[in-house]
């Protein structure tokens, strides 16, 4: 039982990383209906930025994290401006292919700069076990979970309480109607990319710390799983991404612990297929009909 609970906590921690990345997918999808396949690479970029800062400076962890998030946000916005914005009126498939192109570009750029061999991520969070009752939980696990939850709550407040956050929801529902309200749609899209990328970078840094490595293809698998998480929860819905992330993290961890670590990915991907068959709109997704 203790072991099971411990695995659940690990699952929550991994899941929170997926959830952070899934938020970027779902927010961008919500606002421009694009599956941003370069999002996993933004996560990787975030991890490398933290790695560089950790190796070359003695900045505290939280500052390294924030710098990585801000720089990744800038890169995310740049990607949108350069690669996606010119295609705003193009068919969706063109933008999707461009996103895959950006993903390969960033991966290969990292390969050129940092070489293929994994770099060891310095111990940004001091590793020691914390006892919670009979449970032994690592500091990394606790920090990951805590930071993720803090930023998710911040995002929720931003989207529900602030003017730019509400404008973001308005644009994602109906661009033309939002324009008629005086909302600057392109600015709102940039803001969405900035926030999504910052959260992705946060996920990337935490991922790098959890697995103690940074490498050019770091974003590929967690990016894919986070994408599944977003679809599983209901793509375009912020609570859906969080729920999906935690579900995927739990299933993966429990499978690894009790069934087989080789099968865990297959089970996660199999789950996506089942959900898409049974409920194509995801767990929280609804088919909205127009009212007359």
């Amino acid at each position: 039982m203790v072991l099971f609970l411990q695995q659940m906590i690990n699952g929550l921690s991994v899941g929170s990383i997926y959830a952070l990345i899934a938020l970027g997918y779902t927010m961008v999808y919500g606002i421009i209906r694009l599956i941003n396949f370069a999002h996993g690479e933004i996560m990787m970029v975030g991890a490398y930025i933290a790695f560089i800062l950790a190796v070359n400076t003695s900045l505290p962890f939280i500052l390294i994290l924030l710098i990585s998030m801000v720089l990744s946000a800038v890169i995310g916005v740049l990607v949108e401006r350069v690669a996606y914005k010119p295609l705003r009126k193009a068919p969706r498939i063109s933008v999707l292919i461009t996103a895959i192109g950006v993903s390969f570009f960033l991966q290969n750029l990292a390969l050129v700069i940092f070489k293929a061999d994994p770099k060891i991520m310095p111990e940004l969070i001091e590793k020691k076990p914390i006892a919670i009752g009979p449970l032994q939980v690592g500091t990394v696990t606790v920090t990951t979970l805590a930071l993720s939850i803090v930023f998710m709550i911040a995002l929720d407040l931003f989207v529900k309480r602030t003017k730019p956050g509400k404008a973001m929801r308005a644009v994602s529902e109906d661009k033309d109607a939002a324009v008629l309200m005086g909302i600057h749609v392109n600015k709102t899209i940039s803001l969405t990319f900035a926030i999504g990328s910052a959260l992705g970078a946060l996920g990337g840094v935490l991922y790098g710390i959890t697995y103690t490595q940074v490498f050019p293809t770091l974003g590929v698998l967690p990016g894919l799983k986070a994408f599944i998480a977003a679809v599983l929860g209901g793509i375009g819905l912020i609570p859906g991404a969080v729920l999906g992330g935690f579900v995927i993290g739990m299933i993966e961890t429990i499978t690894k612990a009790y069934l087989s670590s080789q099968w865990s990915d297959a089970i996660v991907f199999g789950l996506l297929i089942i959900v898409l068959i049974v409920k194509p709109t995801g767990i929280l997704g609804k088919n909205e009909k127009e009212k007359v």
């Binding site: 003017k163 509400k166 404008a167 929801r169 308005a170 529902e173 109906d174 033309d176 109607a177 939002a178 324009v179 008629l180 309200m181 005086g182 909302i183 600057h184 749609v185 909205e288 127009e290 009212k291 007359v292």
Partner: protein, 234 residues
């Protein structure tokens, strides 16, 4: 206040609007009437810059709009209630109104304008925290008009406010249009319900397949035989 000069609008190769010119003076209610597909909505969308004319120009208070971005028009004092209401259905009534007030900076004045919208549409106040997707069609139309009015427009563009509504609600909506007019807001109204539109309007333009074929005093057109035959079912 609004001058539309010789505009042509194309959807790909389809020539939807052909050399259309008209104007709206301050304080007036002007209506564009015509059958489905005549180009009424296209004209409103062109004025709001959701569509670009290939030729011609639109002037608002003598300022040509071609250099402006679509979202800037509401700052000039133009508000557009789009066809099909287009409320933000996952946002509450309150949030929808807040989006209408997106450009407003004066908190004090805003309070009074909220009160005014609620006096037009008391039902919106009752449903203030409800997601607008759960409202009835008539309530959504009220919200769409309220959302436009809260920006305090000089010119209100109204696209088919009566569409799909029960006769009683149509009456209610047109009463509100009348009230808005009395309070001094200029209105450009697009309607298929020509009878109602002509009763509330000062002047009208009749549109047929992208061209203006008739225009004049609304009360005169209401009695005009050709208009009666084509649009009033008489």
């Amino acid at each position: 206040m609004l001058k539309v000069k010789n505009i042509d609008v194309f959807y790909d190769k389809i020539h939807a609007i052909k050399d259309v010119s008209f104007n709206v003076s301050p304080g007036e209610v002007v209506t564009l009437i015509g059958a489905n597909g005549a180009g009424k909505t296209t004209i409103l969308k062109t004025i709001s810059k959701l569509l670009e004319p290939t030729n011609g120009v639109v002037l608002f208070e003598d300022e040509p709009l071609n250099k402006l971005l679509p979202h800037q028009l509401v700052y000039l004092g133009m508000a557009h209630v789009p066809e099909g209401r287009r409320v933000f259905s996952r946002m509450t009534v309150k949030e929808n109104l807040e989006m209408g007030a997106f450009i407003r900076k004066d908190k004090a004045g805003l309070k009074a304008d909220y009160d005014q919208v609620f006096s037009y549409f008391p039902r919106l106040k009752e449903r203030i925290n409800q997601p607008s997707g759960t409202l009835s069609g008539g309530e959504q139309q009220m919200l769409a008009i309220g959302r436009a009015m809260i920006s305090k427009p000089k010119l209100l563009l109204l696209d088919e406010p009566s569409m799909g509504l029960a006769p009683l609600l149509v009456k209610e909506i047109f009463n509100i249009v009348e009230t808005i007019k009395k309070q001094g807001t200029t209105i450009l109204l697009v309607e298929q319900n020509a009878n109602q539109a002509l009763q509330v309007a000062d002047r009208a333009y009749v549109l047929e397949t992208g061209r203006i074929i008739n225009s004049g005093d609304a009360k005169v057109l209401l009695e005009d035989d050709s208009v009666k035959r084509a649009y009033l079912g008489g």
